[in-house]
């Protein structure tokens, strides 16, 4: 990284400064990045490594329901599952968070009670982000006051793609301020940014603006999390940590349905940023159906035979 190495996040006072900082970033060669991700995807996790990785992945899940048809009943089921993914086995860890729309935060908070499972809310007019800043901030504040531990915001992709990078930065700063001590995940919606160069720049804008996590996707567009995109984002958090001393987490979301996929992400973490990110504090999977596959593979490892999907609740 060509940025100056220091122990603090460089101050960004205007768009010119921001552009200068981003200008120092190296480009990403798409062929090379995809080849690297594909090579890491061939790693083979066996036996105790696999068991530990499956449990780690379960603990990293943000169990998510983000549908227009969500109801308190649906959220109750989700939160129950989040606390006890496999009620028949107390050795199964709880997931990291339950992720819901802002209007259901209070209900989720109520169901989760004193559980260590966090409540995450998607705010800022998720998923499109097409609203005024005031509306977005109100969305965030309401979610925070309803008891959200974590806010998943979306960046303004329109602003990013039309070159208004300062606006993207300022919005993240404003949302961070509205969050107060609430943990902020910034969704880049990489499927709409399209290029890896854009993903790297957007990652840096979010981190410079104070993101606690950078997140790939809303899960609501055609292209969601991919392994090479996650690789590029992990390289960004690695370089940001080296440059500023600030450790930012990564969340991958959308389309991750199998344990096999999830383990591949853990390998990429392991070999790109290392052990500090192999923790729910630093890495999350935004997913719904993934959890059951993790549970199935976990049971398969223990029983030695493939198990039925009906072993686990459909919640």
């Amino acid at each position: 990284m060509q940025l100056p190495s220091g122990s603090t996040v460089p101050a960004v006072e205007n768009e010119t400064q921001l552009r200068a900082l981003l200008g120092g970033l190296s480009g990403v060669d798409a062929v090379g990045a995809e080849a690297r991700a594909a090579k890491l995807a061939t790693r083979s996790l066996k036996k105790s490594t696999k068991l530990a990785a499956l449990d780690l992945a379960i603990s990293m899940v943000d169990l998510t329901t983000l549908e227009g048809a969500d109801t308190p009943g649906r959220v109750t089921s989700l939160c129950t599952k989040a606390m006890h993914p496999d009620p028949s086995d107390s050795g199964v860890p709880h997931v990291a968070a339950a992720c819901v729309y802002p209007d259901l935060v209070a209900h989720a908070r109520h169901v989760l009670g004193a559980s260590p499972v966090k409540v995450a809310a998607v705010a800022t007019s998720f998923p499109s982000g097409r609203a005024s800043l005031n509306v977005k901030l109100l969305d965030v504040r309401e979610a925070v006051s309803a008891g959200a531990d974590e806010i998943d915001m979306v960046i303004d992709r329109g602003a990013f793609l039309s070159g208004r990078l300062g606006q993207v930065f300022d919005e993240v700063v404003a949302v961070k301020e509205a969050c107060g001590s609430t943990h902020l995940k910034v969704i880049l919606e990489t499927g709409e940014l399209v290029t890896y160069d854009n993903v790297r720049r957007a990652s840096w804008i979010a981190m410079l603006a104070g993101a606690d996590f950078i997140k790939t996707s809303t899960g609501k567009v055609g292209v969601n999390a991919t392994l090479p995109t996650a690789l590029v984002m992990l390289e960004a958090v690695r370089d940001f940590a080296e440059t500023t001393g600030v450790v930012v987490g990564v969340k991958v979301a959308g389309g991750i349905r199998s344990a096999k996929d999830a383990l591949r992400y853990l390998v990429v973490i392991n070999e790109t940023v290392g052990s500090a990110w192999l923790s729910p504090d630093r890495f999350r999977f935004g997913a719904s159906s993934l959890l059951n596959d993790l549970l199935m593979q976990r049971l398969k490892q223990r029983r030695g035979v493939y198990v039925r999907p009906d072993e686990f609740s459909g919640d």
């Binding site: 990403v28 062929v31 090379g32 080849a35 996790l45 490594t49 070999e271 052990s275 500090a276």
Partner: protein, 487 residues
Amino acid sequence: MSDELTNSQLGAMAYDPAPESASIARIKPAYGLFINGEFSDPSSHEAFVTLNPATEEPLASVAQASTADVDRAVYAARRAYDTVWSKTTGAERSKYLFRIARIIQERSRELAVVETLDNGKPIRESRDIDIPLAAAHFFYYAGWADKLDHAGFGPDPKPLGVAGQIIPWNFPLLMAAWKLAPALAAGNTCVLKPAETTPLSALILAEILQQAELPEGVVNIITGDGSTGAALVDHPGVDKIAFTGSTEVGRLIQQRVATSHKHLTLELGGKGANIVFEDAPIDEMIEGIIDGIFFNQGHVCCAGSRLLVQESVADDVLRRLIRRVDQLRVGDPLDKNTDVGAINSAAQLARIKELTAYGEEEGATRYTSTCSLPDKGYWFAPTVFADVSQSHRIAREEIFGPVLSVLTFRTPEEAVAKANNTNYGLACGVWSEKGSRTLWVAERLRAGVVWANTYNRFDPTSPFGGVRESGFGREGGRHGLEAYLNV
């Protein structure tokens, strides 16, 4: 820097062993010579043992072909040429080659395991690179056999006759494919000699040729040491010699055939420069440097064994490079997670040790990977030398091992001058996001292959081969046919 960060360890998640099963290989205790479509004992009844370099355990006993055996093989090839192969249409040759390609695909896992056992290379590479590429090579040249009129060498180009082919130990099956596929497509018959330390996959290939019902004698595979190769080179019944190996041996071969009628192509050594400009895509470039020198333990003639870095980014590149070198997983080649396997032989290991000792003597700064090495077998930890000068032996001589020499430059002209300051000329790499300059540099590099923002890429459609003392003739692509046509 925060504690959390300094405590973060790359690759801290240990991977349990994930070994591929060695029994997939189905290696026989002993192999004869494959002459005229069947395995037979050598006239001398002499044999040698091929070892697994990762364990030093014997894998199989292999026949030592004598001059008389070479004679028998060349005679078989000649008779097959005269009576069968020269009368077989291009369309029929094509279908034989497609069959071979398909059977290689069908038996790919077995071949991958054999290759890894015999050579020491990681199973990931033999499985994902060597074997698929070997099949692809047959597939590609299969398609040429019935299209020679379109290959750009004039109408109805003719084969040369009997080709004697000598291949090295670094990519045993792939090199056999590189040699046999174009030769057969063009209508030649072959006598192939695999390397002494890695004969097994070629002998499995002989079984595959039997399964494909290739007419007897069209391909003969004879095992042996250098004396077998010399007998093949000297045999008057051979019309063409194709050799891949060291420049030292290539020079001897050229001398020996200089006054004969024999056609010759040579694919020899290299000291490839990987040139890194300050605007290179940094993460992919680091991976490319790693692939360039640690792929196949650095036993690659086109390896990017010299890293030329623009001074303005040299410190950052070196720091990242060393961090990455430490992450390489060195060990059991059959383990699916191994990145760097065993050195192929005791002799090669001694050679690497000798040359790296010079590196330190001459004042270069040595960095050796912190990986632990197995107790048995031939191993060499990935090594990087910084502060290397053009005059150092490690910058001039081909080490053929997992050893990288790092030099710096200031301008594109200086990069080109340093890259070209060698008697070799096989391959170079250029890393930059600026296409115009990459092409400027590529035009000026004296190398048969230039990779831009990638390294060690191979494809049957792409010609490969060297200039200057890296040899002459091309393998792969349309140009690869020329080596086996009388044009």
